[in-house]
Symmetry: C2
Subunit: 390 residues, 2 copies
């Protein structure tokens, strides 16, 4: 294990609420979130038409074929989405959204469909990601495409994005203006996330070549940042800005909420890059292969931060092994050690904290001054620092 | 060649405007449509950030990495989408939308982005379809996934759906209510289309088994109808209902427009099933393999209509060959002949016409009574009967 990774939680300033109380509260909120996920995408075949068809079409698909249609939609949409959703995951996105709505004086139970949709949109994106990365394993289960096939995985993953639309309709049946606002947020997030995925799929190999050759990490690091922000920051930004809309927040507060969501989502992706280095275990089993990014030659933030921190000769060796896929298991372990020892891992963890702190400093003055507001900050740090969540 | 296919255009009542004038008008409108497609998804790398990023994110992606980001978005989003869009296609969806807006007294030029988005949404769905069906060829070109790879094809195809969102913003920059209405229509269409694709991907083999065994085509035929309506009818319904919103039409007219769009889109898919039987040639070259559906064992409308029309023994043989993929090239030609000779092909063509006529009879009384309204009907028939378009 790398020293920086192990030391990280020891060097934290433990938030005043305390890890146990943070955990208890997260557990409580997660239970409510789970209930709303079940309600938005129920695992009963009879509900499949209402779940997946827009209202007009759901009523048209009646007659002899209606039960057949429901069974089919269940099989090809509900089942693959629930295959992954039921495998758990941290579910910090809906928990965060729930808490923000509460803090702003809104009714989280009433916004349950929207909160659930935040998680299921994320679920959909993981299903499609796993197709694109040909990943065999997710959350300790076989990836959706390995069970249901690529065509159904792509279709169901994409369809899950549009549960946001169902949620908007369920949450604001009588408020067209609010529906318009919240639909716009969801669409903007989907646009940004697909642009981020476009950058991610191409990788940052060219910029890393230049960085390794010239010793300047600037451009490669910037590209990783933009990619993380678009792909991982945008959906959380949209969710938190939606919280602003549903609670009637002023534009300034809405913008600050969006920026805070963007920061938390982006920072989480940064610490996800770090977590990938060591692999993620849950209940004693790996949820995916450790150091997958190193093995697949993917330029992540720890690698970009290593430029200028590692001796040129070592960096050259590491990057060449990554590009050629020639690193042995021992070499991968050694690379993990080097990335920690040179300070690249710590630079990532610092950048993640700093993103959250900076956005928080803009948001905090606009929030109602209660203990609850401090708790939101603690929750965000817990999420980004990962080990205290789920 | 099957006799029903050849005779089809001879048995039409030629619309009063005449095929030549229909064609000229389509050509003129198509030119305008093409201009707006170029504007919504420009083929210049410098425009890629504005095309693919939502407004807030487009301005944030500045600094040293901005030109790199633009180049990358161009490569992974614009290039694959334009690879297929530039291969032509009939572009009847935007032409139809253009004409409906004109007929309703709207400004089609002003709605250009929305009209273009209708075509590019369709383009995106074809890109994803070709991944899911592993089709090598589309519009006479290598399918996008064979050129750009599956991950980029899936991502770019899906991203193209959200050009609708960009178009909404460009068309109604100062009208939040209208943006809300038109975004809702796009999202409902996307939900319906993914449900339709879920049905399509599973195929209707089980129902065809029962139909062949019992001689009752009812359920199998119904499922093909629902699938076609969801997948192919919904997007056109959304486009035409959007025309109602942008021109301030009353709800009754908007609903009739949506129903007419649904009918035209569904009917086009029915005649697409028929066209697949013979293969589609353009400029002397096949745009895709003839009778692909028969070869791949797909239950289409001509096959479902053959139940109860073909002698049980012949149907059994055909269906068994299709299920096993054991039909020789000669057998496929023979099947095409049998489907035409038994009246199944004609039943499809009649059903397509009937769908359009029935929806038209509801829509016509609500339209302004001008020659232009008659021309809309002629255009719709031309589209559905295919040979007079593009």
């Amino acid at each position: 294990m790398t020293s920086a990774l192990l030391q990280h939680s020891e060097t934290l300033t433990i938030p005043p609420m305390g890890a146990d109380r943070v955990r208890q509260r997260i557990d409580r909120t997660t239970k409510r979130v789970n209930h709303h996920i079940d309600a938005l995408c129920p695992s009963t075949p009879a509900d499949a038409c209402a779940t997946w068809l827009p209202p007009g079409q759901a009523t048209e698909a009646t007659g002899a074929s209606a039960p057949v249609v429901a069974r089919r939609l269940h099989r090809a949409l509900t089942a693959p989405v629930r295959h992954l959703a039921d495998a758990g995951g941290r579910r910090w996105r809906p928990v965060l959204l729930w808490e923000v709505i509460e803090l702003l004086g809104g009714d989280s139970e009433h916004c349950g469909p929207l909160i659930a949709a935040t998680e299921l949109l994320h679920t959909g994106s993981l299903i499609v990601d796993d197709v694109q990365d040909a990943s065999p394993l997710r959350r300790g289960r076989p990836a959706v495409h390995t069970v249901f096939g690529v065509p159904t995985a792509v279709n169901a993953g994409t369809a899950a994005y549009f549960l946001w639309d169902r949620a908007v309709q369920l949450t604001f049946p009588d408020d067209a203006a609010r529906r318009g606002d919240v639909r716009a947020l969801g669409l903007a997030a989907l646009r940004a996330a697909h642009a981020g995925q476009a950058l991610d799929l191409q990788g940052h190999g060219e910029e890393m070549d230049q960085a390794v050759a010239g010793g300047d990490r600037h451009t490669a690091l910037d590209l990783v940042r933009v990619t993380h922000r678009l792909k991982s920051g945008s959906p959380v930004a949209a969710a938190l800005e939606a919280a602003g809309f549903v609670t009637g927040a002023e534009p300034e507060l809405r913008r600050a909420l969006g920026a805070f969501g963007s920061a938390v989502g982006t920072a989480y992706q940064i610490t996800d890059d770090v977590a990938d280095l060591r692999g993620v275990m849950r209940a004693g089993a790996p949820t995916k292969q450790a150091a997958e990014d190193l093995r697949s030659g993917k330029v992540t933030m720890p690698l970009a931060h290593a430029v200028g921190r590692l001796p040129q000769h070592d960096l050259n060796r590491i990057w060449q092994q990554m590009r050629e896929g020639s690193g042995s298991a021992t070499a991968v372990v050694e690379t993990r050690r080097e990335l920690a020892a040179c300070g690249a891992v710590q630079a990532c963890l610092d950048e993640a904290d700093q993103l959250v702190n900076s956005a928080w400093s803009q948001l905090e003055p606009l929030l109602p001054a209660t203990d609850h507001s401090r708790w939101l900050y603690e929750l965000a740090l817990s999420i980004v620092r990962r080990d205290q969540v789920a």
